[in-house]
Symmetry: C2
């Protein structure tokens, strides 16, 4: 019995088309060809030569590699800074950075001016309109994966009646949630501008931070809901293409859309979905909300629209944004001065880094809230407007909840 194995049929592109004899009588040849057909299938084959990027060394230096045989200039870019890669054998560019502080970083390669993710890195972040590669440098115990009981992080799709389209959120359910049919408190946790419902679970490592806090007995088991705070996934400016494409206004108007429209969707779609589908303790004492940057401002808009719903509010590296504090205050005077707004509010916690220029917004917002009798606390941290701080803030904020 003889046959033939068409390599393209297991996925390699047409230019790799080779028909190999497969002969059951010659067993070794059969197994060799079959194995290569699988292991050299298109997804890897199209990216020869094989290489690893990023490679994290024991001393926390990191090697980045990128295959670009004809490029003149390849760089790796982080949110702050970057470095040129050097061309080596077989068109593989390489750079070694660090040692880097433990943590997660997002980065891209810039190849002759074209910005691309690292195709060899399977860790990515889905942002608002782009994908980013994620590097994790282990060594910070509070956010590394450890051999402790783990929760689960799910993606949930739903139809938003407010926005008239399909949307999604991420939801962390703590260890024990599936087996133990009790109810759990809920933290709603919002991302920043340009990010998405994916961000807290990738670069933000929220699931690992919660797993570790719960395992150490430092936080109570809780559900964490991470919605998508951008109401639109299209980039703001496409006119240069000279054609009509889906678009949305840029500049101040776009930010105001996020700050005002998302809170509507949150109140009418996100929270009702979570509370009708998950085993939440749906009362004020067991409901908290927090967010970073744009999400911190959304948090204030959401929570102060219905303060009777939340027992804890967290604002990370933010304050009232996109609107004058005095105007914001004037529009909410009744709520701000209502004793019921404060009666069950155990905590309204701000933290912003001393090098973060939004600290002036934080201060103005805290001062205004406290003028109305709120007991807002502001813990100024070191650092700037970065995920280093936001992961730390979650690690500090979550243990204080639902006690």
């Amino acid at each position: 019995m003889t046959g033939s194995l068409n390599i393209s049929a297991v996925g390699r592109p047409a230019f790799f088309l080779i028909r190999l004899p497969v002969c059951v009588a010659q067993r070794f040849a059969c197994l060799t060809f079959l194995a290569y057909a699988f292991l050299a299938a298109w997804p890897v084959g199209a990216q020869r030569p094989a290489l690893i990027s990023p490679e994290v060394l024991q001393d926390r230096r990191v090697i980045f590699r990128f295959y670009a045989p004809k490029a003149q200039d390849v760089r790796v870019s982080f949110e702050r800074g970057g470095q040129s890669l050097t061309k080596g054998a077989e068109g593989v560019w390489e750079a070694t950075l660090g040692p880097l502080d433990p943590g997660s970083y997002r980065y891209v390669f810039s190849v002759d001016g074209a910005s691309v993710t690292d195709p060899r890195n399977i860790e990515t972040e889905r942002m608002q309109v782009v994908t980013r590669s994620i590097l994790h440098v282990p060594g910070a115990a509070f956010m590394d994966i450890k051999n402790v009981p783990h929760g689960a992080v799910a993606v949930v799709n739903y139809y938003s009646g407010v926005l008239k389209k399909f949307r999604r959120f991420h939801i962390y359910t703590p260890p024990g949630y599936e087996a133990n049919p009790k109810r759990y408190p809920v933290l709603y946790l919002l991302h920043g501008a340009n990010e998405s419902d994916d961000s807290w679970s990738t670069v933000g490592r929220a699931g690992f931070i919660l797993d570790n806090l719960i395992a150490d007995g430092k936080a109570v088991p809780m559900i964490v809901v991470m919605p998508n705070g951008h109401v639109d996934q299209t980039p703001p400016d496409l006119s240069f293409l000279g054609r009509t494409l889906p678009s949305r206004p840029g500049g101040p108007q776009a930010l105001r859309v996020e700050l005002l429209d998302f809170p509507q969707e949150f109140a009418k779609d996100v929270m009702p979905y979570v509370e009708s589908h998950y085993r939440t303790s749906a009362d004020r004492a067991h409901r908290a909300i927090a967010g970073l940057s744009m999400g911190g401002s959304q948090t204030l808009n959401i929570a102060l629209a219905n303060p009777e719903k939340y027992s804890a509010i967290g604002v990370f590296s933010s304050g009232i944004l996109g609107e004058n504090v005095a105007d914001w205050e004037k529009a909410r005077l009744t709520t701000l001065d209502d004793p019921n707004s404060k009666k069950g509010l155990k905590m309204i916690w701000f933290s912003t880094g001393s090098d973060d220029s939004l600290i002036t917004y934080t201060r103005a917002t805290v001062e205004m809230l406290n003028r109305h009798g709120f007991n807002a606390t502001f813990e100024e941290s070191s650092g700037a407007h970065t995920w280093v701080n936001w992961r730390n803030y979650l690690y500090q904020f979550a243990p204080r909840l639902f006690r």
Copy 2:
């Protein structure tokens, strides 16, 4: 009161460093600067100009765009075929393909020989060692998102005692699972070579297929567990780099590792984790397993090691691989001829496309099983070794389960 807003502090790289006056008295200027600081933050700013890719038109033609101001040659590559892009204004390359059949496709751009994902596309697949961009062309009702009750797809991290490392699986819980504390049947669903636990939920659209089948009353609500069938995430061959890097054997030996080691991990880590953490009906009548290609061969190795555990087995575009059928048979004679292996086995279902060269393996495996008294059915489909078939097979297989 005046302040200053450092744009780099909200994320733009140092070369964009501009200090802008922020003046609360001049409200319009404040809001403008603040909004741009957010919306033009690094993740988008580093990928100017703004553009959309891929753009799916009403007639199912698809426009791909890629910004590469200095490139000489840009192509978009699918698993079968591809097309060159044409350079247009401002360094934006563009190509229009199709109309394409409804469905999900994975693709990369090839830029002067460097293979990269589409950085503007937020839909990606995490494969074994690389990331891929995913294009979804709507129009196939069974796999599109619809306004029906949706389940959730979670990522679960666990420590594998067999493999001595952290691993993960995806798990689909059906609509109603969280609210209704009953037990559910379980389908274990395995991916193919080069793929990962992510693949059935991205290019495979398993969650949407199940949501739609359940909403139509065509399938019973079930849990679907999608483990990682590769025991190693490192590429097989790195020696050309002239340095010692994490590696693993290539060729036949690597395939045999997947086919033999993963079933051990499945039996000792994956299934026990699922059955102790989720509300499964943990008996033969409520447990099924299926897989595609390499995962189909793993399915046979897993199920025939413990046939008393499964009431349904699905093998998609596969058969016994990496091993001679006669050898495989000889090693399992006792099990194959044990009446208990067949007593509660309601279905052992194979489907392979007539253009798929693995069809000879399917036929040989079905023939061998039926020689031992199994009632294996083989439904030959049209098509080849592609996700078009695997999504269709899931759509045909799932409705037959747990009835």
